[in-house]
């Protein structure tokens, strides 16, 4: 039996090697994707183009504006006393933030001890507006303390605790470090699931699957011969991706490289199983592509790759618990960025193993039913 399997494996590899399109799909596309996506998939917050409507024109109001500019987070692109001009600039997408300082700003601060400032954000870019807002609030708070000390030196400042903050694991706030592990998972998932589904359905479409069913070939041998090459190819793919991540993008690898491979090898059983399952449901390659695309989209979007899972509603969090992509992304991020060890990621890994066994058994069962 092992001889048959070996012969079949040889045939599969030969077939893949001969198929130029397949080779391109396996090796060139992912590299392009990785290079483009890891630069494009970023919520990194750049300088916000700022329009200032200063109706006060005092040292305090210009001080505030200068303070915002000096932070490097805000880039002054226009100033006038007219809110209409500012709104117009925002409507034509030239401005991201409007800082509006009313007349009497300084005198209010001196006499009433409180003054108003209005910040208007263009929230078209969603997350970025929120982050820019937190920066603005921190800068203005710091400025208030200083202005308070200057304008009313007799009064103690409101800040009585020495607060320091440290961001761990990604001190330079580099978005790419965070996204690359996710993109690697996406790559092996697409290769594992899509190619498995397409590869088997293609034999179905051409009719060679029917020919195989009249040979003495066992069902298990056939499936093994189909899945093992793709499992190996996906791991090669991962190595390619990791090499690029390491040498082109300098993404850190704090934990053990072997653990990344171990986790991926387990996860791929699940990914290939899903592909096999899809192939039993459809008749044409077009259908296989659409169903796989549809399922992967849901899997990837709900996996926490782009947005934190704990911000999702409860039902989505439950769904995420049984999503293999969520677990593998968590594991790879933890190993690469935080240096997690086997015991740290034992729980998600055992889930992945269990999931793989269940899906693969289901798929094999379904495949057998269809063949009868």
């Amino acid at each position: 039996m092992t001889r048959v399997l070996r012969a079949l494996l040889k045939k599969e590899f030969l077939q893949i090697g001969r198929d130029k399109l397949m080779i391109r799909q396996i090796f060139i596309m992912p590299v392009v994707q990785l290079v483009i996506l890891s630069s494009a998939a970023t919520f990194e917050v750049k300088q916000a183009s700022t329009y200032v409507v200063d109706r006060d024109h005092t040292t305090t109001s210009t001080g505030l504006v200068n303070r915002l500019r000096a932070s490097g987070r805000f880039n002054l692109v226009g100033a006038s006393p007219s809110m209409d001009l500012a709104n117009d600039a925002m409507l034509s997408r030239k401005v991201g933030v409007i800082v509006s300082i009313p007349a009497g700003f300084e005198s209010d601060l001196v006499n009433r001890r409180a003054a108003d400032v209005q910040l208007v954000f263009n929230a078209e870019d969603g997350a970025a507006a929120g982050v820019t807002q937190s920066y603005a609030a921190q800068i203005i708070a710091a400025y208030t303390r200083e202005a308070g000390a200057e304008l009313a030196p007799t009064i103690k400042p409101a800040s009585i605790i020495d607060v320091r903050a440290r961001g761990w694991y990604n001190p330079e706030l580099n978005y790419r470090d965070y996204m690359v592990p996710g993109i690697l998972v996406q790559l092996v998932t697409v290769i594992g699931t899509l190619l498995t589904a397409m590869n088997i359905v293609r034999e179905k479409e051409i009719g060679t699957l029917d020919q195989l069913s009249v040979t003495p070939l066992g069902q298990g041998t056939f499936i093994a011969a189909k899945l093992i090459p793709l499992w190996i190819i996906a791991l090669i793919e991962l190595s390619l991706g990791l090499t690029i991540a390491r040498f082109v993008f300098h993404v850190p690898m704090v934990g053990h490289l072997a653990l990344v491979y171990f986790a991926a090898a387990i996860y791929l059983v699940a990914a290939l199983g899903i592909g096999l399952f899809i192939s039993t449901l459809v008749q044409t390659q077009q259908q296989a592509m659409f169903i796989t695309f549809f399922m992967l989209m849901i899997y990837l979007l709900m996996s926490g790759m782009f947005t934190p899972i704990r911000s999702m509603p409860q039902w989505a969090q439950w769904m995420a618990q049984v999503n293999p992509v969520k677990h593998i992304i968590g594991v790879i991020r933890a190993v690469m960025l935080k240096g997690a060890t086997v015991s740290d990621v034992a729980v998600p890994l055992s889930f992945l193993a269990a999931f793989g066994v269940v899906v693969l058994s289901l798929a094999v069962f379904q495949y057998g039913k269809q063949r009868d």
Binding site: I36, A40, V120, A123, A158, R166, F290, M297, P313
Partner: protein, 368 residues
């Protein structure tokens, strides 16, 4: 001639209707996407898990801990005496932020020597990290304000307005992008596959001896998909409006007209891909690479273009979806009309002219 075209369109419609699985997915896709994007893809930060490191608890540290416990955003998942406990919790993803108090916190406060407090954040995700840190600082600041009551120090009240999307709901931003994605998928991808299938099976050569002209074959192929794309746009809009109350500020007529324009660009790309590729699989792959991927990743639908590196920003200029999303967001969220969007519209028109010319030129159903 018109009857021939009609018969051809009817045949195409039969083709589409017969493949139930693909049709179901095509019709369901926009619905599922709107629901997923709307409910699940939120970038606001909630449910932050805090671990308190309080080696010597006193009334002051308890007051701050209670502040955190009382907020709805933070959830205290543990209290320890040593900072060593932080790292394993972060690695197992069981905590997101740690608040570390200095021993003798209350007595230092009374001595008026500012006690030290450290916020350690799991900043693997930079934006969430920044936001969590800001939220924690804000909680501490409220407690400080309470302690320093009576000495009225200076304050600046900041009024913030998030324009065009006051609640930062991601669904409002995604729906315009979604329309672009669905239009791309149906127009470019489906057209490319369906045309190249006829090519692969040789039925395109049969059409050659029919009285239909190449342009008519294209029109016949394209019309049913255009209708399908339109049905999808309407589904997405209705779902967005019914389920999420996504605002619609501008003119529906203008949006639909721009959708047709964008569909025409995508359809032309689909025809072009089909005529340049040898097989169904190659067509699928090329169409995905040339349309679907850039339309999701480089169009500003999910990731802001302003955040991308300059060379990539330059690439986005040739992606039709980029311009369509500006138009769709402008109409839906800002309620602006052609006065603000004429430039983007002109670009799409130019793209349509170029793509259509290329497509018709390269589409020659002749014997290979």
């Amino acid at each position: 001639m018109i009857t021939a075209l009609r018969a051809f369109v009817v045949k195409e419609i039969h083709h589409i209707l017969r493949d139930r699985q693909t049709l179901t997915i095509l019709l369901l896709m926009p619905l599922v996407q709107v629901v997923l994007f709307g409910f699940a893809l939120r970038s606001d930060v909630r449910n932050v898990r805090v671990v308190m490191v309080d080696p010597a608890p006193d009334h002051a540290t308890l007051a701050i801990r209670n502040r955190f416990a009382a907020t709805s955003r933070f959830r205290i998942v543990g209290t320890t005496a040593s900072t060593d406990a932080i790292e394993p919790l972060f690695r197992k993803a069981q905590a997101d932020i740690a608040i570390v108090f200095e021993p003798g916190f209350a007595s230092r406060l009374e001595d008026e020597t500012p006690p030290r407090l450290m916020i350690a954040v799991d900043a693997a995700d930079p934006n969430t990290g920044t936001t969590m840190q800001y939220l924690a600082r804000a909680v501490i600041a409220t407690q400080e304000a309470e302690w320093s009551q009576g000495n009225r120090s200076v304050r600046i009240d900041v009024a913030t307005r998030m324009r065009f999307n006051p609640t930062l709901e991601s669904v409002n931003l995604f729906v315009p992008g979604l329309i672009a994605l669905v239009l791309t998928l149906v127009s470019a991808l489906m057209t490319a596959i369906s045309l190249s299938r006829e090519k692969e099976r040789g039925t395109l050569e049969v059409l050659l001896v029919s009285p239909l002209r190449p342009a008519q074959i294209i029109v016949g192929k394209v019309l049913p998909y255009l209708a399908l794309a339109f049905a999808n746009v309407i589904t997405a809009l209705v779902a967005a409006w019914l389920v999420f109350h996504v605002p619609f500020e501008g003119s529906l007529g203008l949006l639909l007209a721009e959708s047709i324009l964008y569909s025409l660009v995508s359809l032309s790309i689909g025809v072009l891909v089909a005529s340049r590729t040898p097989s169904q699989r190659a067509a699928m792959l090329t169409a995905m690479l040339a349309t679907l991927l850039p339309s999701t990743m480089l169009s500003g639908m999910v990731f802001p273009i302003a955040s991308m590196p300059a060379p990539l920003q330059a690439v986005t200029y040739i992606i039709p979806a980029r311009w369509f999303i500006v138009i769709a967001r402008g109409i839906m969220l800002k309620g602006v009309g052609l006065t603000y969007l004429w430039r983007e519209t002109l670009i799409l028109v130019a793209m349509m002219v170029v793509m259509m010319t290329l497509a018709i030129r390269s589409f020659k159903p002749r014997l290979a």
